[in-house]
Symmetry: C2
Subunit: 177 residues, 2 copies
């Protein structure tokens, strides 16, 4: 059995990045030293699954921010396109969310970190998300890449936890029904 977990920050108006992918508004709102539990969360996952859009944003980070294996869901990117330093750390796949989760479960994964708007939307639609930790930043940015997207039907969530931080960030933890 493998669980999909989300751990993501959004603006108050629901965006995870500006339209060009930039995240500077996130760090402007953050308060140095405030622990939102990211490292503790990462310690509990076997690896990260993300879409191409998120991969393009994080490849610009130096150093590479992940110590765990990363799976990138893309129909166009190929393993050979990866830079040498990423070839052992990143695996490209064009599988469906169901297929990739089944394969990762066979590999022994019990908890996958699902990251990025498109990946989160498709995994939610497929019923593959067990829990979401959402961090609402105290800022409106007006437009950008939305966390959530169209759904075939309403999706009810059970609230597990609410926490607020001195920075004004509000963390909510939900389990989709």
């Amino acid at each position: 059995m493998i669980e999909g977990h989300v751990f993501i920050a959004t603006s108050q108006d629901g965006f995870i990045a500006r339209k060009d992918g930039s995240l500077g508004w996130l760090t402007e709102v953050s308060v140095a030293g405030e622990d939102h539990g990211y490292d503790a969360f990462i310690d509990t996952v076997d690896g990260i699954v993300m879409g191409r859009g998120t991969f393009d944003v994080v490849t610009a980070f130096d150093p590479w921010p992940y110590s765990k294996p990363v799976i990138v869901m893309s129909r166009t990117l190929r393993q050979a396109d990866l830079s040498d330093d990423l070839k052992d750390r990143v695996e490209i796949t064009d599988e469906t969310p169901q297929s990739v989760m089944a394969r990762l479960a066979r590999r022994g994964w019990t908890k996958a970190y699902i990251d990025g708007g498109r990946a989160i939307q498709s995994f939610l639609a497929a019923g593959l998300i067990t829990e979401m930790s959402l961090f609402r930043m105290p800022v409106l940015i007006g437009e950008g890449r939305p966390l959530f997207g169209p759904l075939e039907k309403d999706l009810r969530l059970d609230l597990v936890e609410v926490t607020s931080f001195p920075s004004g960030i509000v963390k909510t933890r939900y389990r989709p029904r």
Copy 2:
């Protein structure tokens, strides 16, 4: 001095109504008897300012839900279009947010309830919102009428309060900087 206050519920994905204006998903999530403070809030305002879209939704309610004066911002609707029972309760205006708030202040109002997505967006952009009480419902509805919209620049918010309810609704109260 007059303050603009927002008191509104949104889905987890940021919608205040479905595309057709329907609100049934709100009542499906609510728990009977849970007090979110609406009556106490209404007691503190001098009246309600809303856009045409919200007015069209609330005119379908029977009985008319407001005991306080209602101002409707519209460039096309006219006072003569109102039904007889609303003529004394509703005032149509095509003023700007600044003009209407200045006029209401001269009339003695100190606190206006700004309601509806378009009105909230234009009053926020004009710097006329003092405080927002946002109720995040534990449901994703996929698409609808968004609470927030494009902005000329980022708008920072100060978090004043967080409260959660047994239904899973999370109330956050913010003051725009």
